[in-house]
Subunit: 498 residues, 2 copies
């Protein structure tokens, strides 16, 4: 049995190394690669991906997992070993269900779709994008057929990003927050924020962001921050974490984007050493991962407590732009709710409404109750209903996001679920660290960072998302209560009128 | 046959992709990786290396090569296809001869040896390094036993870097240049060069180097230049070339180091598209590769013609340091010959003497006529004889180079062979482009760059080193004549006394 476990670990380490290598190739492609390197990089990534997949779906791995069942059952559920066998078995069974040639077609269609989408968006031409959308939907219907599901064909797609969650459960959560958010947005006061749209020198933004990040609890020499066109975070071990960001000359939004990626980075950084080079070295779901980027971006990075410490340093960095702006006015501005057209520019309150619209539409597309050609009209009607805005063209509407061009249906909900989960976990944080706000106000984030690491990040994927949330909060499942209470309190604290 | 050729290409493309991925991981490790990422990176590199090796030495590849023999024989010798089959067969046969566990031991010993060497050099403690040296020698003796050789057990080691060349042939070349160089160095005039050791702001050096590199013939968007501790060049296709350099605050030597790496980069950049993702995508030998780094560093970058164009821009960049220095004085300073202790700081004339010493010593170590413990004494005697310098300690003597700590015996000669070959090929350049000097003086390097690309770089590894040299020069083999004539002329042109 020990020999089998050792063999399992060796095989999984090899697959993990291949994925790590793909991560490095991907980071390099987005951060440093000369543009003409693209075709060769695509070939190298395809080769590594194919080898990693072949090695993972290997029959022998299945036999190993079968032989290890008695060991798994003899060990505590949340032990590294039992979790490794259990989680790997589920991954293996899922991976085996999809024929190699369908997988390859999906990958090819995603690459082609991306190029079509870039051009269609540039010309705001939905008709040009429609065949791509239809092709991706058809491939997803074939993908869904590989799995069993009960409530909706959307569930197997969701499972790739939010394992064990059903479409029905998502719809229930969104059914609660949808009307509540729409009402909050309608009633939100207008807040003066013009001073956030001045000129902010990128090198000063960068220096300030690095000062802040230095307090987040990263081990020195285990991470770095680079610039890129579309910010992301990746890691090639818990000691090699790569944050990326983009500085805008005319706004400070990069700061929160950086704190957001830092949240993802702290998750990767905190995964236990014992889980490295195994399938357990990750977050249980995208929603849980996102809960932590939102925690560091919003619950920390937009809190009055945090800025009690950091506003003076920021004002000293940008005296011309912020010299006349008081702390309260700054905190109000970065917490305001203001309906807009673009998801990635949305504030904390309106953001989930953008997501709910996408979830509702992509669910209907997959279930076949919305024809792809009717999507723009449905989009525009949804924006009117949920956010009260008129969509001027498809570039600022249905064509704005990359996800559908790559066939990533089921991904969107995790953004809003992350928002919801972040508040459930924050309640646990406040219980464990009653003076967390005082600590933030003193610029002290180490206890917070260490608590999240030890109680959440270190677990990796050992538990399911629900089990993970339950371990921290005592409540199984996703509860929108704390999230809505947080937004209500926040908006109520804004100065009325401006 | 066509299907076999297609299968061969597919298998080799896969191995090539793995090597390219390793290249990216290596570049990232040396240029950007946070230091604590080291252990995970070593694991990932080991996994990729193992998979690449396994896939290359596969029995089925040998059967494919055997079945393709008739096709190979039916095609012109230098066709892409015949060359691919022939060169791959030699690589495959060589790779199969070394047992996997010896290869693994060599890799492990190299990694351990590096750490021991770093510490031994820091303390100038040869005794601490001796066991590592002995271990590496023992492993190389076992390695040599895997091959057949006639003149010396050193020849199979040499073959890994300079294929098809024998120890005897190297000794013959070095036998000619050894006394000639020693005499040139003894009689070289002393030249004033103090102005090269002023303060030169790194950002200005970088900007100047980039202006120069922009004229070298690289396609825009197919390369980049970064900083690192130990400059190197790597590439992940002919459209993704990475140069690295290091700027010194108190000297201009980084410029020639950059031009040197650019020469390697142009080689990789010029390899034909049709050879990409095959074992032919490389230089025929390290000597030939080095001949081109030396061409761009020295034959271009230290020539009076080149500086006729570039000296004014350089002087405008550094008016304080060079304002009073005339072109002639500058050209004399960068071409002076001055014996020193350290190879990597050696000038163009003394450099090959450092190499000849290392060749003679490592050959004797491998042949068993020099005991490892007697190495420092032999080193110091050689430095006295060849360069007329006294070695103060082993850190500035036998411990200065990394190569032996990694067991890289047989590598050193390629540096000096590169110097020699560069002049043989340069004679062909002058014949093909009679006004190359006038072009250089006008800042025009495109014809030179394109000629070398089309006549040399594009060939990749299709021909052997000798065949490659013969194709360009009409002479088979390595002829030290042009190299010695070049150095004699250069030193004769220096102002006598200073």
């Amino acid at each position: 049995m020990d020999a089998d476990l050792r063999t399992l670990r060796e095989r999984l380490a090899e697959v993990s190394d291949l994925h790590r290598a793909m991560g490095v190739l991907g980071w390099d492609q987005r951060v440093t690669m000369p543009p003409l390197g693209t075709p060769a990089r695509a070939e190298a990534l395809a080769t590594l991906g194919r080898i990693a997949h072949e090695r993972f779906v290997d029959d022998e791995l299945g036999r190993l997992l079968e032989r290890l069942r008695p060991l798994e059952e003899s060990l505590p559920y949340d032990s590294d070993e039992a979790s490794l066998i259990r989680v790997t078995r589920r991954d293996w069974e899922k991976a085996r269900k999809v024929p190699a040639e369908l997988r390859a077609e999906m990958t090819r269609a995603a690459a082609q779709g991306h190029q079509v989408w870039v051009e269609a968006r540039a010309r705001s031409d939905f008709a040009a994008f429609l065949p791509t959308l239809e092709r991706n939907l058809e491939l997803r219907r074939r993908y869904v057929e590989c799995f069993e599901w009960e409530d909706s064909p959307y569930t197997p797609l969701l499972d790739d990003y939010e394992p064990f969650m059903t479409t029905t459960e998502v719809a229930e959560v969104f059914g609660v927050i949808r009307p509540a958010l729409a009402e909050l947005v309608r009633e939100a006061p207008r807040v003066e924020a013009g001073f956030l749209r001045g000129r902010f020198a990128p090198e000063l933004q960068r220096a300030f962001a690095e000062r802040v990040l230095a307090t987040f609890g990263f081990t020195e020499g285990a991470w770095r921050l680079d610039t890129t066109a579309h910010p992301f975070c990746t890691s090639f071990s818990n000691r090699d974490v790569r944050l990326t960001t983009r500085y805008h000359e005319t706004g400070l939004e990069s700061l929160w984007s950086t704190l957001h990626e830092a949240g993802h980075g702290l998750y990767a950084h905190g995964i236990a050493d014992s889980l490295q080079r195994t399938p357990l070295a990750g977050a249980p779901s995208l929603g849980l991962n996102e809960s932590q980027s939102r925690t560091w971006e919003n619950l920390v990075g937009r809190s009055r407590a945090f800025w009690t410490c950091w506003y003076e340093p920021l004002r000293e960095t940008f005296p011309e732009q912020l010299g006349d702006v008081a702390l309260d006015a700054f905190v109000a501005a970065i917490n305001r709710a203001e309906p807009g057209l673009i998801r990635v520019e949305a504030d904390e309150t309106t953001y989930s409404l953008h997501i709910i619209l996408r979830f509702e539409l992509e669910r209907r597309l997959i279930e076949g109750t919305l024809a792809p050609r009717d999507l723009p009209e449905a989009w525009n009607a949804g924006m009117r209903e949920l956010l009260g805005v008129e969509v001027p063209d498809d570039a600022h509407g249905v064509l704005q996001d990359v996800h559908w061009s790559a066939g990533s249906f089921g991904y969107f909900p995790t953004y809003a679920l992350g928002n919801v989960i972040s508040l459930q976990l924050w309640a646990a944080v406040r219980e464990a660290i009653p003076d967390v706000e005082e600590q933030m106000a003193a610029g002290e984030l180490h206890e917070l960072s260490a608590w999240l690491r030890d109680n959440l990040y270190a677990l990796g994927r050992k538990l399911t998302p629900k089990e993970t949330i339950e371990r921290l909060t005592g409540t199984a499942g996703i509860d929108p209560g704390p999230y809505l209470a947080y937004l209500r309190d926040k908006l109520a604290a804004l100065p009325a009128g401006a």
